[in-house]
Symmetry: C2
Subunit: 287 residues, 2 copies
């Protein structure tokens, strides 16, 4: 297929390269043009503008940071929407507001353009290894059309219902991830303060009922004081703000997610570019 | 070996039967004598009193509910300690206070009796299947003496250091478990309130970075409104109170554990005998 890809960040760049590897014809664009180099070296064309990439193919993928970024890409001056024609498909793989997603999909539908929300989970490693989980909202027929491209980027590709539902499932995912990170942080910090052997503790607790992906993957990084990001604190904070907004919109008040959102917002001040395991630094790991 | 086993609850009874299966000579005792029947049918002798079971063998295991229960078994009127002689070993497999454990071990040491704290993780299924994780504090030489008996009851048997450290590792385990349960509860409730297909959500989120033992095992029970206990809310609440005490003793204040302790204490009022997945009922699952 001929496709466009907007957003050459730590996720978008390897995702676009996996589309190339699978034999698709890919044109890329990024606000900071230098970030297109890796994809270009792998065989991508580089578009000069958003209105140009709109004409690059039947499907245009977007993978940027936050709701305002997607809005700017789509509907900003000379944005994607200004160049799109009826019959094209926009696939937003960013993690943004489910409510805004519904609004964007409605505006695109008015010009005959289909939209899917398809946020991903699995971090940089999943983007590089094409093992991302992809949670997709939109029309099922459109999902089926795009599926071969999804299969070049991910492994666990799940149709979740109407527009916004991909983002809603992602919000559930992030709510659980954040509390699991807090669980590891408090557990490992208790072990440290109690003077226990951290490797012994990690080995025994991660193998039983306390086990989690987060404990397996982030626990050893905490023990090694390794704060390099698999997924950055500032992005987890952003995702939690989105999830908490949705929770409030539903008239709910989840105390755990209130707490993790506050803690990740605080952690963002000093440790925003660290990996999410740095939540334990906010709690006083290095004291 | 000739051993005694005090406490024929849902954990102690199958654990004593696994000792019998492994060829050990087991004498059992329980406050409510009727609960000894299953172990007796499997070949155990039944002691008439705590002072009698003190003479049942070289090692006396205890598996009861809480710190005051262990204190009563050991040092109550005609308690175990009154019948123990120098050279015997007491192995407390209950989950109790690490600080009290140190005190009990000291009192027993004064009469020449060794003590190990060896709390377990893995629930009733682990007790029956002899797959418990066993976290052991005490002298390493004593641990080695008892190890063959531990191997009849568990799989992941870890020496954690001096007396109290088995309980400290268990506290770490329970802190993490409780926050992981809250994570599942808020995540699955958000999915329900957002009108998502719960089985789809569970499938996709449990397979990625949000995955945990709790999500895998408790998520489907929530979806099925199945509140039968693998591990009871009231015991999780008790374990959290112990962990929070230790955290406070260390001069720390962990907001996540404060929250889970408060929520499990609240849940204990109405759902104390339910499984820990019933935390989601407190949050309004059935509303």
């Amino acid at each position: 297929m001929k496709v466009g890809f907007v957003g050459m960040g730590i996720m978008g760049s390897p995702m676009s390269q996996n589309l190339l590897k699978a034999g698709h014809e890919v044109t890329v664009w990024n606000r900071t043009a230098a970030r297109c180099e890796a994809a270009e070296a792998a065989g991508a064309s580089v578009a000069a503008s958003l209105s140009e990439i709109a004409r690059a193919g039947e499907i245009i993928f977007i993978c940027v940071s936050d709701t305002p970024d997607v809005e700017q890409v789509l509907f900003g001056e000379n944005g994607l929407a200004s160049g799109l024609s009826a019959g094209q498909i926009v696939v937003d793989m960013s993690t943004i507001s489910p409510e805004a997603t519904e609004k964007f999909a409605g505006k695109l539908a008015a010009q005959g353009v289909e939209m899917l929300d398809a946020p991903v989970s699995g971090g940089e490693a999943g983007a590089i290894g094409a093992t991302l989980a992809i949670m997709c909202g939109g029309k099922e027929g459109v999902f089926e059309q795009v599926k071969p491209a999804f299969e070049a980027m991910g492994k666990n590709i799940v149709y979740c219902g109407a527009n916004g539902n991909g983002q809603r499932v992602k919000a559930v995912n992030q709510v659980i991830c954040a509390l699991n990170i807090l669980a590891c942080s408090e557990g490992m910090l208790l072990a440290k303060r109690a003077g226990l052997d951290l490797e012994t503790v990690h080995k025994v607790v991660s193998s039983g009922a306390a086990g989690s992906w987060m404990l397996t993957n982030l626990g050893p990084k905490m023990v090694a004081d390794d704060w390099a990001p698999g997924f950055m604190v500032k992005l987890q904070a952003k995702d939690l703000r989105i999830a908490l907004n949705s929770i409030h919109s539903l008239g709910e008040n989840f105390e755990g997610t209130e707490l993790t959102t506050r803690l990740f917002n605080e952690a963002e001040q000093d440790y925003g570019d660290d990996g999410t395991q740095a939540l334990v630094r906010l709690l006083g790991w290095e004291k």
